[in-house]
């Protein structure tokens, strides 16, 4: 079986002491008990601590790992401190792609929830021996509610019962 590029990337972020939290549907999926209850998604959303040093280190790491970076359809190349400050200023979403199977969205701001609150509520899940910080389920759902996007409204409406059950289970198990 080939090495999973997502697992490899998350491992590298952790090893390089990048401060981040996995969010979005890919974050909600960590609360699923088995593959049969996963929600369908095509990307991994990563909220990084919005400081110049951390965002710069994240983007440099992605570049070093031969990921193609883009924002708003425009390529992002040769990341430096100036570009990092602009990304932070604009709260730009950076999409990193590698090959046909890896797509990661790097965000510095999510769901109108401050990074510190995400970090405080986050839970750690093990992936191949690496502890991955994932947003707390209540924050992940709240972020969807706050996003004011039609696709998020539909997601919440469609999976209302399943999400409620996941929340109850997470509360019982201390997640």
């Amino acid at each position: 079986m080939p090495i999973n590029p997502y697992a490899s990337l998350l491992k590298k972020l952790t090893q390089n002491k990048i401060k981040f939290v996995v969010i979005g549907v890919s974050g909600i999926n960590y609360y699923a008990d088995d593959p049969g209850t996963l929600f369908s998604t095509r990307d991994l959303d990563i909220l990084v601590q919005p400081t110049g040093k951390n965002v710069y280190a994240t983007l440099r790491l992605l570049e070093k790992n031969r990921c193609e970076l883009e924002s708003n359809g425009e390529p992002v190349v040769e990341v430096d401190q100036w570009l990092t400050s602009k990304i932070l200023e604009q709260r730009a979403v950076i999409t990193a792609r590698k090959g046909s199977s890896l797509r990661v969205d790097i965000v510095t701001d999510a769901g109108r929830i401050p990074y510190e609150k995400w970090r405080k509520g986050c839970r750690y899940f093990l992936v191949q021996g690496v502890k991955i910080p994932v947003g707390g389920l209540p924050e992940l759902i709240l972020a969807k509610k706050n996003s004011n996007r039609e696709k998020d409204r539909q997601f919440l409406a469609l999976y209302r019962i399943q999400l409620k059950e996941m929340l109850e289970k997470a509360k019982r198990s201390g997640h």
Binding site: N4, P5, Y6, A7, L10, S26, N29, Y30, A32, D34, P35, L38, S40, T41, R42, D43, L44, S100, S101, L102, R103, F125, L126, V127, Q128, I132, S173, G174, H175
Partner: protein
């Protein structure tokens, strides 16, 4: 109601087993989340390649 000693022990055993189970669950590997993401993208990449031909 008088609760027998055996009943107490059974309850304790059950509680211990539940704790053990939840501990195992909390520590269980979640590789399947990332595997699903990877295979999902890989599948669609294949579909798009076929469509392009």
């Amino acid at each position: 109601m008088k609760v027998s000693k055996k009943y107490d022990l059974d309850l304790e055993l059950m509680a211990r087993q539940a704790m053990k189970l939840s501990f195992n669950k909390a520590g269980s590997d979640k590789s399947f989340v990332l595997d699903a993401l990877y295979w999902h993208n890989d599948f669609w990449a294949h579909v798009n390649r076929i469509r392009a031909h």
